[in-house]
Each structure stands twice: as structure tokens, then as C-alpha cells.
């Protein structure tokens, strides 16, 4: 096992390197420069000033030199400084140690995604099992239609409707943001409740759209297992149907879900631009979108590299998960 892991970890290095080279090239190929924010269409800014700024940011050097300089810093775990006017370190934008933990972008996105992923798994797996065991029946079709409505509903539209309903008409929930104006005056319990209230709509919206994929996947995987001979044997032995489904079938049907769990790891830090913008949640999606629009190369690269690393790590974890749970794979 250990040599296998070591081999896999070593294999990650060239992959990661390849990803960063491609990303770096592609973002530099996109027209526009980070200095555009400062200089675009402002008659007070001379071409000399623009050139000077480009030099300041090192943009006058060839791309491979820029990549080399970047790589040199990154191997020391330094993602450099953002190109936006505030010149803050990339890491401080993602994980601002001057702010309390609950205000850091990565943490905010992580919490929302973790909650919604938990919700998705908690709801979608039972739905999938239910659909599979009630295949073709009316109840199967209702759940199928419902999850597909969730899948097809544009998140921004549903978000606005729910904000109007719960925020304005009923006045039960806050509309946007992470905390209320009077947050500082609240008791500890009040603060927790205030934050929880703000998370209800975003978590609901982000999980609603995710139900379809996982529940359909679960349904398919379950149906496949149910057709297997050993299930027939189990039934023939006279086992109770519930024991057949939950003990024998479900455990095997859950195996492919491990892959999905592994693939979900990078998703934990990648926020959705759309719902973060709608709910004014300062998460990773917003940060990434803004950095792309302003051509903030170091920040784009920082987020991409972390994302790529987590994707690879997720794959590895999924494989380890298989080894731990599936004796057939372990044997190889």
C-alpha cells in the first residue's frame, strides 16, 4: 500500500505541473492585461503611465520568464501578490488571517458547500434507493420529476423568488449577506442563529440543483445491483426484503458513490459565482470571477493551482476509499 501511495503522489507532480503550464498560457492568451482596470478609457492616463505600470507588474517580460518566476515562488508555497491595486498577497485574499475564521473566503465557501453536499447526500441517496425499489411506479416518477425540476430551475431565478417570498412577503429570513447589521450586539447564541438564518436560503438553493445528478446515479447503481445473482440468492434464501435491499444491495450500490465523493473534494472550495453574487456571499466563486475579469494573474493562478491540487487529491482519496471498502480491488 505504501509504495502504491508514494507512486501515486509522485505521479501527481508532472500532472500538476502540466496543469499550471496550461492554465498560465491560457490566461495570458486572453486579451487584456491586469493594468486595464487602472488605465482603460481614462483620458488622464498617458501611454507612458501605462507602460510604466506594465513594467511594474513585470508584464513586459516574455511569458515563459513570467511562468518561471511564478513557479520559483510557488514551490516555496508563495503565491505572490495580487495584481489588483491593493497588492495584497494572494493567500491573504483566500485565507485572511487578520479576519476571524468565519469571515475568511475559503472558510465561507467550504461551510456552505459542506452543508449543501451533506444535504445532497442525505436526501439524494434515499431518493435514489426509493426510486430503484419502486422502479416504474408513480412514486418513482414523482420523485424523478421533482429532482429534475430542481436540476432545470435556474438558481438565480429560484433564489430571487425565495428571497421575495421569505425576505419580503413573509419577513422570515434575511435576504442577503452573512450576518445582520446588529450582529455585534447579539449574544453568542444569537450570533450563531443569525448566521444560520443567513445560510438557509443559499444552502437550500445550492443543494436543490444538485439532487438530480446524485439521486439518478444512485438509482442506476442500485438497479444494477438488484439484478445481480447474489441478490436473487439472498431473496431465495427467504431474507426479508428490507434486509436484502439495505444490507446486501445498498452496500454494494454505494461503492461508485465513493468516486463521486472523491470528485466532490475540489467542489468544496469552488464556489458558484451566480449564487454567491445573488446572496452577496463573499466566497471563492466571487473572488475567482473578479480575478478573471480584472486579469489578476497571480490570483487566478493561485486559485487554479489549489483547485487542481485538490482535484488530484480527491481522485487519490477515492482510490484509497475503494481499496479500503472493496476487497476485489484490494486484492490486486
Amino acid at each position: 500500500m505504501i509504495p502504491y501511495l508514494a507512486k501515486r503522489l509522485l505521479e501527481m507532480i508532472p500532472t500538476l505541473l502540466g496543469i499550471t503550464i496550461l492554465s498560465f498560457l491560457i490566461i495570458h492568451l486572453a486579451p487584456g492585461k491586469p493594468t486595464d482596470v487602472l488605465t482603460e478609457m481614462n483620458p488622464k492616463i498617458t501611454p507612458e503611465a501605462r507602460e510604466r505600470l506594465e513594467k511594474y507588474y513585470g508584464l513586459d517580460k516574455p511569458v515563459y520568464t513570467q511562468y518561471g518566476l511564478w513557479l520559483k515562488r510557488v514551490v516555496k508555497f508563495d503565491f505572490g501578490e495580487s495584481f489588483s491595486t491593493d497588492r495584497r498577497p494572494v493567500i491573504a485574499k483566500i485565507w485572511d488571517t487578520k479576519q476571524p475564521l468565519v469571515e475568511r473566503r475559503l472558510f465561507i465557501t467550504f461551510v456552505i458547500n459542506a452543508f449543501s453536499m451533506l444535504l445532497i447526500f442525505l436526501i439524494a441517496i434515499p431518493i435514489g434507493v426509493f426510486s430503484a425499489t419502486h422502479q416504474g411506479l408513480f412514486s418513482d416518477k414523482v420523485t424523478t420529476v421533482t429532482v429534475f425540476i430542481g436540476f432545470a430551475t435556474p438558481a438565480f431565478w429560484l433564489a430571487l423568488l425565495l428571497m421575495m417570498l421569505f425576505g419580503i412577503h413573509l419577513g422570515w429570513l434575511p435576504i442577503s449577506g452573512l450576518k445582520s447589521m446588529d450582529y455585534d450586539t447579539l449574544s453568542v447564541f444569537g450570533k450563531i442563529w443569525d448566521r444560520a438564518e443567513h445560510l438557509i436560503l443559499p444552502v437550500f438553493i445550492s443543494s436543490f440543483g444538485g439532487l438530480a445528478g446524485l439521486s439518478r446515479f444512485m438509482r442506476g447503481s442500485m438497479l444494477e445491483v438488484i439484478r445481480q445473482d447474489y441478490i436473487t440468492v439472498a431473496r431465495a434464501k427467504g431474507l426479508h426484503e428490507r434486509r436484502v435491499v439495505y444490507h446486501h444491495a445498498l452496500r454494494n450500490a454505494l461503492l461508485p458513490i465513493i468516486t463521486l465523493l472523491g470528485l466532490a473534494v475540489p467542489g468544496l472550495i469552488g464556489g458558484s459565482v451566480i449564487f454567491e453574487n445573488i446572496f452577496s456571499i463573499p466566497g471563492m466563486g466571487q473572488l475567482f470571477y473578479m480575478s478573471v475579469m480584472t486579469r489578476d494573474y497571480p490570483l487566478v493562478m493561485g486559485i487554479l493551482t489549489i483547485g487542481a491540487f485538490l482535484t488530484l487529491l480527491g481522485n487519490l482519496l477515492a482510490d484509497i476509499g475503494y481499496m479500503l471498502t472493496d476487497p476485489r480491488i484490494r486484492a490486486r
Binding site: 416518477k141 428571497m163 421575495m164 449577506g177 445573488i278 475579469m293
Partner: protein
């Protein structure tokens, strides 16, 4: 797995329809019901209208400030917030004349080369140190420093010599008289020397935790959420009435409007449709006050004058006759703006009301095109000349629906005189770098934000046509060049007015741009705020005099 979905029996299908119908009704009910929320009650109470200290103003903003040092900031959110923290030597009065701010008065030498500012005494930075001419000198040296990543140094490079004869006097000498010089000494160059001297301005925390001397000081800044400012009790023009100014970041305009309705924010800019339709309810008229005044900006359609189609002035005039500006203002802006006749805002001093105008007149347009040699020889409905049909593309940037709608209207109108227009919408950076800078365009719809000073040398002067410069349409007129020189080399307003009036006449005749409209700013503020005096420069200039009467205050007093 999916195929099962299509095998509904009749009754099942009927039940499904019923369920879908119920969902539909649910959405209709909650989507369309317009019930006012609870928080409308307090405005009805009668209270004394005495100015009082206290309460908080929550302003909604789409963008987040990046850095609170004016000379390093590039985005409007940063300048908005930094403008509350820093003051300049001079500022504009409500009638657009220049008045003193940190400078009490100033003298300009008769030859216009030397400006001497006499500073106000006893103004203090937030940390208690007195503000002196040394701070201005320090700011000036910083902005012209090669190592400072600022984009605004151009005006300051014109300075030949800067001196500090005594702590309350600052004197600058120019190489040539330079009319925009006076107003350039606004808040870009005011920095506390005692805190920043010898430090690398980009490496300090100052940009996120500035020490200023203005109306408000920074209290907390939570990235992505809000910037909370508290009033400067020692402000040299008196303590602001409103204790806290909260700059709340809400990137989505629809959410911002919902927050306004729910009472989460007090102050935001409305879009034309929000101003005319969505806030036209009794709830809004009872709880909010709306304002409207022209923005210092205009939107235009610019022609690439190097392109053979547009070299003939008659063609440009014909397009102007075929473009109904009134219609564009009414349809695109819901009437919230004015048709533009030149590059200045109507009713300001440089604006010339008597230039040639082009009312909507298709006949005149057709005659002019015929004179210029454009005829529909092959009968396909599109004019042609020397075998090439009159087809051109209007480029504009993504994300600005006003410009896209304007382009569509122009496309439709020009089709009526036999000109076929294509519209192409591009992402901003791509648009500027690949098309404007490389001059690969036929016509563009864009806007200029214009400063309060009428100098537009960089936009119209023939020396400014190189790559990346702003006369990207390639306009060249020696007379305009001379007049632009004249306008920026004298401080005499009457002289300048003459020059800029003449420039507008020439531009109106030659039409390098078709000036389309000057939009209105349409902010909305909660009704409990009093003391707002709308003026041509907007409403926020006297923010420190806004107040909420005691009985109407919503937010608890702040512990100091």
C-alpha cells in the same frame, strides 16, 4: 432508465398535470404579490425636524473598494470611500465653481504659471497631528515618483517646481499655464507625511487602514461584505450628524433592490426601470426620496474616420439625421436623460446651447447620402457605392444593456435609409485591447465620463491618435487643435468658454461622434434622512450635513 418516464397512463398524466398546475399557481402567487413589508410604519410618525446626531446610513454598492489611497485606486468604489476619508486642497461648489477645501484661498500669478495655496490652519489628521503643506509636498513627491504605481501622475508632471515657504503655504510653478492645474490639487495628493515617510506606499497597511482627515474614518472593513466608517467628530467643517456610514457590498442589482425594499439598505443608485416603474408605488413614495440630476458623462457613437465610409462628413450627418436621439432617451433611458449635442453636460458653463442640431429627418438623410454618392443600384434595399454595399458593424461592450439597446435602435433606424448595421458585443478587455487600441472597428458605442473641467485635449487633439491614446477615431482638425491649446492655457473662464463654444460648433458640424445622450443619475435615499440638497454635482457633497431627526433614528447610538 429514462424511458419509463414516457409511459404514463391517462390518470397518472392527469395527476401530474394537476401537480404541475399547483406549482405554477404557487409561483404566480408569490412571484407577483406586491405587499408592502412591515417596516413602513415609522415614517408616518410626526417628529420634530431638528438636526440630531446619531443613526447610520447604509449605502449599497455593487463593487468593493480595493484600496483607500486615492492616488493608487482605479475603481469607483475605492474613490467613493476614500473621498469620505480624505479631502483635497480645492473642490467644486454646487454651481461648479472652484472653492477652497483644505486650502482657504489661493493666488494665481498674472502669467498663470504660479499657484500659491494658503492652507487652513488647525486641521488635524485622525491621529491628532496637524495637517501642513509638508503633507501636500509629500503627496506630490509620491505621485510623481517613478516607483509609485499610479495612473494619475500626468497633471503633476506639468509642474516645474513645488515649494513649501511655510507650513501653511504651498506653491507650485508650471512650465506653461495649465488651466486644469487648479482642480488637480484635489484629494489625490493629500497624504500624512509623518506616517508614510520613508515607507513603500504599496507595502504598508495604509491602503486598508488609512489615516485621513475627512468626514468619516474607517472603523472596520470586512472583505466582500461591508466597510463601516464612523464620523470624524473633529472634522474641520463640523462633526457629521450621521454617526456611521456603512458601505455594503451587494454584487447583484436585483438583490440590492430587494434589500432596499426590505429596509436592509438606505441609499443606492436606481436603474431607469427601477426609477420610473418599480419604485412608483405608495410604499416607495412614503418611505423613500428619489433624486435626479445629470451625470458628468455622455454616450456617443464614434466613427473610425480612417474608414472610407465615414471620411465624408455628409455621410456622418446623414446618419445623425436618421438617428432619433429623443427616441433613444425615451426608450432606453425611460426619459431619464437628455439628448446630447456635444461633449458637455447641458446647463454647465462650457455647454454651448446654440450648435447645429440634427432632428430626425429621413429625407435630409437620404439627400445627403445621395450627394455623397451612395445609391441603391442593385435594388437590394442596401445603398452601395463603387460596388461595395453600405454595411458596417457597431461594436459595444458587454454588460451595458443601455448601450446594446441604443445600438439596436440605431440599427433599426439606419435600415430605413438603406444602411445595414451589424451589432457586435464584446467583453471589455477584449474590446479595448483588440479592437479600440488596434483601431479595428468601424463604429463604436461608448461613453466618456467627463471631469468637471472642460479640458478634453486627450480626446480631440490630433496628436493623441497613436495606439492606446484616446483620440482613437483619428479626428484631425487644426482649428480644434489650436482651440484646445487655448482653452487649457488660460485661467480666464470667459476666454475658455469662447474656445470650448467654438469647439462644440465645429464638432456639431463635422460630427466625428454622434453625441447621443447625457444620462441622469437616479439615486434613492430613505425618507428619514433630511438635509439633502440636490445640486448639479449630485447629492453626496454635503453628506456631513445630512441628519435623521431624533424620533426617526433607526440604529442605536454607537459606543465611541
Amino acid at each position: 432508465m429514462i424511458e419509463g418516464c414516457f409511459e404514463y397512463s391517462g390518470t397518472v398524466a392527469a395527476r401530474m398535470r394537476k401537480i404541475l398546475y399547483l406549482i405554477f399557481v404557487f409561483l404566480i402567487i408569490f412571484g407577483c404579490r406586491h405587499k408592502s413589508p412591515e417596516n413602513g410604519k415609522q415614517a408616518v410618525k410626526t417628529v420634530s425636524d431638528e438636526p440630531a446626531y446619531g443613526d447610520a446610513l447604509v449605502a449599497g454598492s455593487i463593487g468593493e473598494p480595493s484600496i483607500l489611497i486615492p492616488m493608487l485606486a482605479g475603481d469607483s468604489a475605492s474613490h467613493d470611500v476614500a473621498g469620505l476619508i480624505f479631502n483635497g486642497l480645492v473642490k467644486y461648489d454646487t454651481d461648479l465653481s472652484v472653492i477652497g477645501d483644505l486650502a482657504e484661498s489661493w493666488d494665481i500669478s498674472p502669467d498663470g504659471l504660479v499657484i500659491t495655496f494658503h492652507l487652513r490652519k488647525g486641521v488635524r489628521w485622525f491621529d491628532g497631528v496637524e495637517f501642513t503643506a509638508e503633507d501636500i509636498m509629500f503627496g506630490y513627491k509620491t505621485i510623481i515618483n517613478e516607483k509609485t504605481p499610479t495612473a494619475y501622475q500626468e497633471d503633476y508632471l506639468q509642474v516645474k517646481k513645488a515649494e513649501v515657504p511655510d507650513p501653511y503655504t504651498f506653491r507650485v510653478t508650471y512650465r506653461k499655464p495649465f488651466a486644469p492645474a487648479l482642480t488637480s490639487w484635489g484629494n489625490l495628493v493629500v497624504l500624512p507625511k509623518h506616517l508614510l515617510e520613508g515607507k513603500n506606499i504599496t507595502k504598508t497597511d495604509f491602503g486598508r487602514d488609512p489615516v485621513g482627515l475627512g468626514r468619516y474614518k474607517l472603523r472596520t472593513w470586512t472583505p466582500g461584505q461591508d466597510v463601516i466608517l464612523e464620523s470624524n467628530r473633529d472634522y474641520f467643517q463640523g462633526r457629521p450628524y450621521i454617526d456611521r456610514y456603512i458601505y455594503k457590498i451587494i454584487p447583484d442589482p436585483a438583490t440590492m433592490f430587494l434589500e432596499l425594499k426590505a429596509g436592509g439598505i438606505d441609499y443606492m443608485g436606481l436603474t431607469p426601470i427601477q426609477y420610473t416603474k418599480q419604485t412608483d408605488t405608495s410604499y416607495f413614495s412614503k418611505n423613500f426620496q428619489k433624486f435626479r440630476y445629470p451625470v458628468f458623462a455622455y454616450t456617443y457613437m464614434g466613427f473610425n474616420l480612417r474608414h472610407p465610409f465615414f471620411q465624408d462628413k455628409r455621410v456622418r450627418q446623414a446618419i445623425a439625421y436618421a438617428t432619433d436621439k429623443k427616441e433613444i432617451v425615451d426608450v432606453v433611458l425611460f426619459g431619464l436623460g437628455k439628448p446630447a449635442t456635444g461633449p458637455y453636460v447641458p446647463d454647465t458653463w462650457p455647454y454651448n446651447p446654440k450648435v447645429r442640431t440634427y432632428g430626425y429627418d429621413l429625407e435630409k438623410a437620404k439627400i445627403l447620402l445621395k450627394e455623397a454618392g451612395w445609391k441603391d443600384t442593385n435594388g437590394d434595399g442596401v445603398l452601395d457605392k463603387d460596388g461595395s454595399p453600405f454595411v458596417f458593424t457597431i461594436l459595444t461592450n458587454m454588460g451595458n444593456s443601455l448601450r446594446m439597446n441604443t445600438a439596436t435602435i440605431i440599427q433599426w433606424r439606419l435600415a430605413k435609409i438603406g444602411i445595414k448595421v451589424d451589432i457586435r458585443v464584446l467583453e471589455w478587455s477584449t474590446f479595448i485591447n483588440e479592437f479600440i487600441d488596434k483601431r479595428r472597428f468601424q463604429a463604436v458605442i461608448l461613453g466618456w465620463s467627463i471631469g468637471l473641467d472642460p479640458d478634453q485635449y486627450d480626446i480631440w487633439h490630433s496628436s493623441k491618435t497613436k495606439e492606446k491614446e484616446f483620440n482613437f477615431i483619428g479626428y484631425k482638425n487644426p482649428e480644434v487643435d489650436t482651440l484646445l491649446e487655448q482653452g487649457r492655457r488660460t485661467f480666464d473662464t470667459e476666454e475658455r468658454k469662447k474656445a470650448y463654444f467654438k469647439i462644440q460648433e465645429i464638432l456639431a458640424e463635422e460630427l466625428p461622434y454622434i453625441f447621443l445622450y447625457v444620462p441622469d443619475a437616479t439615486p434613492i435615499v430613505h425618507a428619514r434622512f433630511r438635509g439633502i440638497k440636490p445640486s448639479p454635482i449630485g447629492i453626496s457633497y454635503n453628506l456631513h450635513r445630512w441628519y435623521v431627526p431624533k424620533g426617526l433614528q433607526r440604529h442605536a447610538a454607537m459606543e465611541p
